[in-house]
């Protein structure tokens, strides 16, 4: 079978699977909107004290909030997506079935996760953003090129996000119960991707460190492209570098894990 078509089918499957949970999607939109509202008010208080904080004006800061809420599930900044499922398969031993498939383990899960994130971008990303734009003055670009550049950055962010979560999931080969690691990485990811506070507001050395970490590719990078605060090409290079590094590391660890695989219960 044509392997490109296989992975496309897996991706479409991932998309359609998440599309079945309509109430969950509606619930998610509601929750993202509520959190967006809380953040908008706190940012407004913050930018009232210090206009131009982190190089953003108030409208840009508010736009940043809604970009964050829209991409939260798409990029799984705080973990989630296929990683939980993969860990569960490792714990129960079902992973043995996956290893028998005539498909590459990493590409298979990447395709499924890209399908999932495309669905969440459309269904859970767009509505809170539109609601935010209706309620507040946002700093949105007027030219189509910037929007396109933003979308490219989002796709690269999807690859980085998968790269991180795949490594987290593979840790279950050694730890059996990977929830602890997943949770730790979840909070680091939440904080270091700039979900609570934009990374350019972080002071001094701390700011430089968090901006160099892979998580900054998840929200800060696409947001800055949309807000016209970053050069798209430089941003892409940064994101692509992390994507390649993480995916290569995933491949390496996968090789190590499958050589020593101990299938539970059998």
């Amino acid at each position: 079978m044509d392997s490109g078509r296989l992975y496309l089918a897996v991706g479409v499957g991932g998309f359609r699977r998440y599309a079945t949970y309509r109430a969950a999607t509606a619930a998610g939109i509601f929750t993202n909107t509520v959190f967006g509202l809380i953040l908008v008010y706190t940012y407004t208080a913050l930018w009232d004290e210090r206009p131009q904080l982190g190089g953003y004006d108030l409208a840009q800061a508010v736009t940043y909030v809604w970009v964050g809420q829209s991409l939260f599930k798409t990029l799984a900044n705080g973990g989630g997506g296929v990683e939980g499922e993969l860990m569960e398969r490792i714990r129960t031993g079902d992973i043995a079935v996956d290893l028998y498939r005539p498909a590459d383990l990493q590409l298979w899960w990447l395709a499924a996760d890209l399908g999932r994130s495309s669905f969440e971008l459309l269904a859970r990303g767009v509505p809170p953003f539109v609601l935010g734009a209706l309620m507040f003055d946002l700093a949105l670009p007027t030219d189509a090129m910037t929007w396109l550049a933003f979308l490219v950055a989002v796709v690269l962010a999807m690859l980085v996000s998968f790269g991180i979560r795949y490594l987290v999931a593979l840790s279950a080969f050694w730890l059996l119960d990977g929830t602890g690691v997943a949770q730790m990485v979840m909070f680091v990811g939440w904080f270091c991707s700039g979900m609570i506070l934009p990374l350019n507001v972080f002071p001094g050395l701390l700011g430089e460190v968090v901006r160099a970490l892979p998580w900054s590719a998840l929200l800060q990078a696409p947001a800055d492209v949309l807000l016209g605060e970053a050069d798209p090409l430089g941003t892409y290079a940064f994101q692509a570098l992390w994507a390649v590094l993480l995916l290569a590391a995933g491949r390496l660890v996968q090789g190590m894990a499958t050589r020593r695989v101990v299938v539970q219960g059998g």
Partner: protein, 258 residues
């Protein structure tokens, strides 16, 4: 007893237990680190200084942490309804609510209470309050009532899941969203929003109304001073309908499957 069973079972994966407890601690710690970072750039937020915000933050975190420790696993109800495992609880000779609360009882949730307590201790050490016996008495009352109010939200959210089976995320907006909201001063938010969480979903009674009284700050919405003392009544008034909703939900439950 069921809680003890779950505690034993989580101990089976000890490394993971340590990490999830630390994770819970870190989760909430990051929230507060974000506030500290904000204060590295500004001196006040909504007119409140850092120790005052830490005071509100600590109160909200501890109250929410206690409710989460007891009832946080209620959010799993939707899943149990979907996969039919709720039936197991129905045939056991113990209240379903208690069993649900004990389900996957997470001792790791102590991480949140610990972190909230630490921030509260820091706040009490640095904040400038004119202590009176009345204000001292209000402290434990406020925390326990707050836990009661959040607990009611958890139970009501679970009851809602009998209707909307896979919409457990709505609950997060009110639980996690609620505690995040209360961690900032009421002056930050639009008046309509403050009105909403005072008169519709009375989260204000967890810390905003009693807390501003203790701090000697103007009480939100120009309400009279005595509202600082009605939190226990509000907690009871919240728990009653939440309990009724839970019973109605449980009664309407139809098992999945054959």
């Amino acid at each position: 007893m069921i809680s003890a069973m779950w505690i034993r079972s989580t101990m089976a994966y000890r490394a993971s237990f340590v990490m999830t407890t630390l994770g819970n601690f870190t989760a909430t710690a990051f929230d507060f680190v974000a506030i500290l970072l904000m204060f590295s750039r500004v001196d006040a937020l909504g007119g409140y200084a850092l120790p005052e915000i830490a005071f509100l933050y600590g109160l909200s975190s501890v109250a929410f942490g206690l409710a989460d420790l007891g009832l946080g696993s209620m959010e799993r109800l939707g899943r149990r309804v979907r996969d039919g495992t709720l039936d197991t609880l129905l045939v056991r000779p113990a209240p379903v609510l208690a069993q649900m609360a004990a389900d996957q009882f997470g001792l790791r949730r102590l991480g949140r209470v610990t972190q909230g307590t630490m921030v509260l201790v820091y706040a009490l050490a640095t904040v400038d309050i004119d202590w009176t016996p009345l204000k001292l008495l209000l402290m434990p009352v406020m925390i326990l009532s707050g836990a009661g109010i959040f607990g009611a939200v958890f139970v009501a959210g679970a009851a809602f899941q009998f209707v909307a089976k896979d919409a457990s995320e709505v609950q997060n907006a009110f639980t996690y969203g609620g505690t995040t909201l209360l961690q900032y001063p009421p002056t930050v938010f639009a008046t309509e929003l403050v009105r909403g969480v005072t008169f519709v979903l009375p989260l204000s009674f967890v810390n905003w109304l009693p807390g501003t009284y203790v701090l000697g700050r103007p009480i939100p919405l120009g309400l009279p001073e005595w509202v600082a003392f009605v939190s226990p009544l509000v907690a009871v008034a919240c728990c009653a309908p939440a309990g009724l909703a839970w019973r109605a939900g449980l009664r309407s439950y139809r098992s999945t499957g054959s």
